[in-house]
Amino acid sequence: MPTSRSRARSRARPGAAASDAADDELVRSVGAGDQRALAEIYRRYAGAVWAVARRVCNDRVLAEDVSQTVFADLWRRPGRFDPHRGKLRPWLVAQAHARAVDTVRSETARQRRQEREGHLAPVPEPDVEATVHAAALTEDVRRAVDQLSPEEREVIVLSYFGGHSYRETAQLLGHPEGTVKTRIRRGLIGLRRALEAQGVTP
């Protein structure tokens, strides 16, 4: 834990040091208590973490909490990142997405409770097109998403961008749960192919 390690107490700022170090090396430095290494990781990947948190949460304050938590967690437990199992950027984005989804589910549960108690207007049902719009996808990604079948598109949008579990998605769409999971997998395959066809390498 932080207090058990010799922490660098110098105040760090993003990009202040180690700008040419490899990601793995920076994570190792974080493990040794080097706050400047964390600052460099933040400089490199805060934009990706913030973007996914913002798009999933659709709320700046919640997204700030998610972003802070992701980097604070990396500081506390850098060993959770295993460089043999993938690169740092996608791993951080995955952490941010998971936390953002947890936040959205928690917030939705809270709103639904208030709705039941009559303190809040009914929570609107999720809308695929509105979710796509809120995600502010780049043109490449939007084209790839649009190339999916309508069934694959809606489950990818509702689950990844909307933060819905496969069970919720199945209920919303009136489809069997197993079918939804299969469509998520096929949707990911379709997205990869469509992006590769555009020359975008995931």
Binding site: M1, P2, W50, F71, V93, H164, R167, P202
Partner: protein
């Protein structure tokens, strides 16, 4: 179903990659498989790489780094202010009259009298998920790292480890009123409480957490939404072995 789908849970893995599996037992099954399957680990890494490219980078607000830097610096001096759990119970009952019976907040009232009178419970291996009905779940063991109890010994929450992840199980903790959240703290002897994150209001009864190596004792408290820099009242504590 293809041969590959039979030997590797590909559909489940895809749903896991997009965080569409919210059931702890289902997650445990997948995470257990990942521990022993290099092919599925590579597939997950590939899916995460794909997903990480879907949203364009965007500069976060400048103050986000400042908040991170503050949390990664030396811990603040403790400011421990008792919380009136009797009041918390009254709020909970008032806000959700139909749910009062689920809550252990009745038992928590006694906790106000002994802030950090946590019952330290040693590591305890238990066969868990006994009521599991899902495929493969009967083979999953859940390791209880600690039981968080109120001053009267009433169980409030558990810290469990399963599938390589650590969770706080809040089944017995109860749902807090609107605008409140549970917060997890490290309570290592001789050190100020250190926040380990927010656990939500209790409606999600299993919350993944990251316990720093060396954590020996934790507690949860009822805090305003957004959390507090120091606990305003500890509900319970537990012995922990990382």
């Amino acid at each position: 179903m293809t041969a590959a789908a039979r030997s590797h849970p590909l559909d489940d893995l895809a749903a896991y990659a997009v965080d569409a599996i919210d059931d702890l037992r289902e997650r445990t099954v997948i995470e257990s498989h990942l521990l022993s399957c290099e092919a599925c680990r590579q597939q997950l890494a590939s899916d995460w790489a794909l997903l990480a490219g879907l949203v364009a980078d965007e500069d976060p607000p400048a103050h986000v780094w400042g908040a991170i830097e503050a949390t990664t610096g030396p811990p603040a001096d403790p400011v421990v202010v008792p919380v009136d759990f009797g009041e918390a119970r009254a709020r909970a009952t008032q806000d959700r009259p139909g749910r009062a019976s689920r809550r252990r907040l009745v038992g928590l009232a006694a906790a106000a009298a002994a802030l950090v009178a946590a019952v330290a419970v040693g590591p305890e291996l238990v066969a868990a998920i006994q009521d599991a009905g899902g495929p493969g779940s009967g083979e999953q063991a859940e390791r209880t790292l600690g039981v968080l109890t109120a001053a009267d010994g009433t169980e409030v929450a558990r810290v469990v480890e399963t599938g390589g992840r650590t969770y706080v199980a809040l089944d017995a903790a109860g749902v807090l009123p609107a605008g409140r959240t549970y917060q997890l703290w490290s309570l290592d002897d001789g050190r100020p409480p250190v926040s380990l994150g927010l656990l939500g209001d209790g409606s999600d009864t299993s919350v993944a957490v990251n316990l720093p190596a060396g954590t020996t004792r934790v507690g949860i408290s009822d805090e305003p939404e957004g959390g507090s820099p120091a606990p305003s009242g500890l509900i319970a504590g537990a012995g922990m072995v990382a």
